[in-house]
Amino acid sequence: MTERPYWIAAGTVGWGAIVFWKAAELPQFDQYAHVGPGFMPSAVGLGLVVLGLLLALQIYRGVPFEEQGAEDVSEDHKVNYMALGLAAAASALPMLTMKPLGFVITCTGCFVLVAAAFKSRRWHLDLVLGFGFSLLCWWLFRKLGVQLGGLLPMMGV
C-alpha cells in the first residue's frame, strides 16, 4: 500500500498541541517538588508534536502501513464500508439511548446492529435473541452487584 496518510501525523500533532496548550496554563515548576503539575503534560504534549512530525517525515519517505492480521478477517482485507458504518453505529448508539432508554433496550439495539454488520439476515431473530441476552446480562450482573441502572429509566422503572 503506497497510501500517504498525512492526516494521522496531523492528528498526532494536533492532539499534542492541545495537550501542550492546556498544560501551559498550569504552573510548570513549584517550590516543593520543583516540578509542577504542568511539567509532565507539557512534556507529553511536546513529545506528541515531535513524534507527529517524525511520522509525517516517514510518510513523506513512503513508509508502508500494513494492516494488522486478525482472525475472521478476509484475506484481501477488502473494506465493506456498510458493515463498518453499522458497527460504528452500534458503538455510538449507547451515547444516545443509555440514559433515557436504559441498559436492556440499548444493548438490544447494539446486538441487532452488530449482527447486521456481520451479515446476519434474520433481524427478527436477532431482535429476540438480543433482547433475551441483554435482559439476562442485566439481571445477572445486577445480582453480582454491578450498577447498570433501571430497566426503563424514562418510565422511572
Partner: protein, 505 residues
Amino acid sequence: MDAITGLMNGFSVALQPQNLFWAFVGTFMGTAIGVLPGIGPALTIALLLPVTVYIEPTAAFIMFAGILYGAMYGGSTTSILLNTPGESGSMMTALEGNKMARQGRGAAALCTAAIGSFVAGTIGTLGITFLAPPIAELAFIFKPQDYFALMLLAFLSVSVVMGTSKVRGFIALFLGLSLGVVGIDKQTGLQRLTFGVPDLMDGVEMTVVLVSLFAVGETLYVASRFGFQKPNLNPLSGGIWMTKEDWKRSWKPWLRGTGFGFPIGALPAGGAEIPTFLSYTVERNLTKHPEEFGHGAIEGVAGPEAANNAAAAGVLVPLLTLGLPTSATAAILLAAFQNYGLQPGPLLFINSADLVWGLIASLYVGNLMLLILNLPLAGLWVRLLFIPRPYLYAGILIFSLVGIWGVSNSWVDLAMMAGVGVLGYMMRVYDFPIAPVLIGLILGPMAEVQMRRALAVGQGDPTVFVSTPLSAVLIAVSVLILIVPAMLHWRRTRKIDMPDETAGV
C-alpha cells in the same frame, strides 16, 4: 517470611474448596476465551473487573491467574488444530503444530504443547516462588529515582519491542501518557486536561480505554473486513499420542523454551514474541531431524509453547514485586489490584501475604487443572469456534457495555467508548501497537509521582536521576535501547546505499 513457609501458607489458601472453585472457573473461562477469536486474557479480566466488588480479592486474583494461564492453553489448541494463532505468542506453535495435525499427528502435537506448557508453567511458578521474595526485599532499598529509571526502561522497551515501527510505538505510548495525565493532580489538587468536564476529574478509567481499544476496535475492524471461512478441522485421528520417540525429542525443548521464556518475560522489556521466536530458531538449529522442520517437527511445537507459557509466568515477577506491568494483561491486573486498594510492590508481600502466596500457589494448582482438563477436552474446545460470528461479536459488545457502563454510569465513558473504539480501529488499520497505550496510561502517573519525589529529595537537582548505581545503569540501558537500533539502522542503510552510488557512477 521465607519462600517455603509462604508457599505452604499459600497452598492452605489455594486449596480451600471455594478457591479451588474460582481457580476452576478461571482456567475454564481462560481456555474458552483463548480458543475464541476477538477476545484475549486482558480483555476478559477487564470485563470481569466490575464483578470484583462482590468477590473477595484472594478469590478474584486466583480466578484471574487461571484466566491468564488458561488463555495460553486455548491459544495453542486452535493454532495446532486450525492454524489460527490467537495471539502473537502462539504463531510459532501454529507453524509446526498445524503441519503435524495435517499428518494426523494432532494428538501428539496437542500433547507436547500441553505437557510443555505444564512443565514451563510449573518451572516458571517455581521461579516466581523463589525469585519474587528476594526481589521484593531488594525493592525496599529502591529509591524514587530507581523506580523512575525502571519505569523509563519499561516505557522504552515496550514501545521499541512491540509493533513494527518505533515511531508508531512511541506515538501509542505518548497517547497513553497523555490520557494518564487527565484528572486532578494529586499533589496540588489542580485539574489537568479535564476541559471542565466533572466526569474527567477522577482521570480516564483504564477499563474503559482497554475495553474500547480491544473489544470495540476489534469489532469495527473485523466487521469491516469480515471474511468467515468455516473452520477446517483437522481430525484428531485418536490413538496416536506421544510415542517414546516423541518424549525423547520433546523434553529438552521444553526445558530450553522455559529457559528463554521466563527470564525474558521477567525483564522490563517483557513480551512473549521474542522468547518463542528464539526458542524456535534454536530448536531448528539443534535438532537431529532438520528435514522435518517446516513439515511438522515436534521440537518446533514443544519449545515455543514452553517459552510462551514461561514468559507469561515471568511477567508476574516485576508486576508482583515492583508493581511494574510489562504487558497489556499485566497492566489490567495492576488496575485490578488498585481496584481493591492494593499496591503491588514490596509491601504487598508483607501486608497481603495470604493473597500473594495464595495467588502463587494457585498458579501450581491451575497448571495441573489445565493439564487434566484440556488434554481430553481439546475436541470440545474446538467446537466453540463454530459459534455464529454475528452473535459472537454482538455478545462481545454487550459484555463491553457491562464493563464500561458498570464502572460509573457515566455518559462521558460511553462517548469515550465510541471515540477510543474508532481509535482502536485506526490503530489496527495503520499498524500501531496497542499495549503501549495501556502501559502509558497506567504507568505514566506512577512514573510522574516517582519523578517528582526524586526531585523533591534531590532539591531540584536533575542529576538525582543518575545518583544511585542502579538508576545510573538503568538510564544507561534506556539510552542504549534508543540509540543502538538507530545506529545499526543507519549503518545498514549506508551499506545498502553505497553500491547504489557506485552503480550510479
